[in-house]
């Protein structure tokens, strides 16, 4: 604290400092906490991977490393909003909103066409209600509030159906991701197989060649000619085998 007061160059902070206990999370402390937790779990015959496991007699300097207990009422407040531990979508009734569509039971085999139909119906209702609101406002503005409330209910219902749809969409996305992954893997396998086949053919080609006599003057050119079955022979002054090696080096980089 003294430091802070002395240091007049300290700019006023946009955000407050983190709570002081962050300094307790040193590697040493974390290691000793883990050790304690492990020992404790073994003593009690519990699973030490359980995050909710609590050590009762913890040394004071490690107290902050232990996560706090779950709130007993399974609810907590954050920025004056109440959250609950099991994070479920609140039903419309719980929020005090009239439900317009049919109640969607958790029907595992149910299709979602109905839901789309319901959404379209409500979208049209929203538009119609706006039109009615305009009409009411031009004749009798004091009745406008009711219409606005109707619109409110409609919109909230609309959004609620969308939120109910989220888990479904999440599964759908998972399916999409897995399909993509599968396609990628298959494409990769096919590409590797293709290169391997090519290399095998090249090897067979080499195997069927005669070994050139080692000391003839045309040694260079003849081996080059024969090896040209490997690829296109010499290009840009780089001998074919060198290039082949380079190619494989690239492949290695790509696939491994």
């Amino acid at each position: 604290m003294e430091n802070m007061e002395e240091d007049s160059s300290r700019a006023p902070l946009l955000w407050p400092d983190p709570p002081p206990f962050w300094k307790d999370f040193t590697p040493d402390n974390i290691a000793s906490f883990d050790r304690l937790k492990h020992d404790y779990a073994q003593q009690q015959g519990l699973d030490d991977s359980d995050v909710l496991l609590r050590i009762l007699d913890l040394p004071e300097y490690l107290l902050d490393l232990q996560p706090p207990r779950e709130p007993e009422e399974r609810k907590w407040r954050l920025f004056s909003v109440v959250h609950s531990l099991n994070d479920e979508l609140q039903s419309l009734e719980a929020m005090g909103i009239q439900r317009l569509g049919p109640l969607n039971e958790r029907d595992r085999d149910g299709k979602h066409m109905d839901r789309a139909f319901e959404l379209k119906r409500q979208a049209k209702s929203i538009l119609l209600n706006f039109l009615e609101l305009m009409g009411v406002m031009s004749y009798n503005p004091s009745h406008g509030a009711e219409k606005v409330k109707d619109l409110d209910t409609l919109l909230l219902n609309f959004q609620h159906i969308l939120n109910e749809y989220r888990p479904h969409q999440a599964r759908e996305q998972l399916i999409q991701l897995m399909q993509d992954q599968l396609d990628n893997k298959r494409a990769e396998t096919a590409a590797v197989r293709g290169v391997v086949d090519k290399a095998k053919r090249a090897l067979e080609g080499l195997g069927s060649m005669e070994i050139p006599p080692p000391t003839t003057p045309e040694r260079e050119s003849s081996s080059m000619m024969k090896a040209s079955e490997l690829g296109d022979g010499v290009k840009d002054g780089v001998p074919h085998w060198e290039r082949q090696n380079i190619d494989f080096a690239l492949l290695d980089g790509d696939f491994v």
């Binding site: 919109l155 599968l182 085998w241």
Partner: protein, 136 residues
């Protein structure tokens, strides 16, 4: 650009914003009219400040444009609704699909590893051959 649901929720929000814009337009920009033959429109200088009338034709053109925008947004919403992913899959279908895909992925992964192993082998062989050529 989010997923379909987010797009849809955004579109609904935009629709509401458009509602508000339309409301204000009509409220602020209309012309003064008389209810009966005995009414009089006061001198324009006495116009309340919140009213900023437009000439009737301009006003109507604006109204038309706003109405068109509303319809367009509505159609966009309906289009988004019909393109929600997996409308004809039930939860049960989805689970089955995920399981199938998991199995297929396992097979594909095994094949991929096989292919890579084969590639490494062929690489070694090719390397040997090339070395022997170079030595010759």
């Amino acid at each position: 650009m989010g997923d379909r649901l987010t797009q849809l929720q955004d579109a609904a929000d935009q629709l509401v914003h458009q509602f508000i814009a339309c409301y204000y337009y009509i409220e602020r920009r209309h012309e003064l009219e008389t209810f009966g033959p005995n009414d009089k429109i006061h001198d324009l200088k006495d116009n309340p400040k919140e009213l900023d009338s437009l000439p009737p034709d301009v006003f109507q053109a604006g109204q038309l444009e706003l109405a068109r925008d509303l319809i367009t947004k509505e159609q966009q919403i309906e289009y988004l609704i019909s393109s929600l992913p997996g409308l004809d899959n039930s939860e049960h279908d989805q689970e089955q699909l995920i399981k199938d895909l998991e199995e297929e992925l396992r097979v594909a992964e095994a094949q991929r590893l096989d292919a890579i192993k084969e590639k490494d082998e062929i690489l070694v062989r090719l390397d040997q051959v090339l070395r022997s050529i170079r030595r010759n």
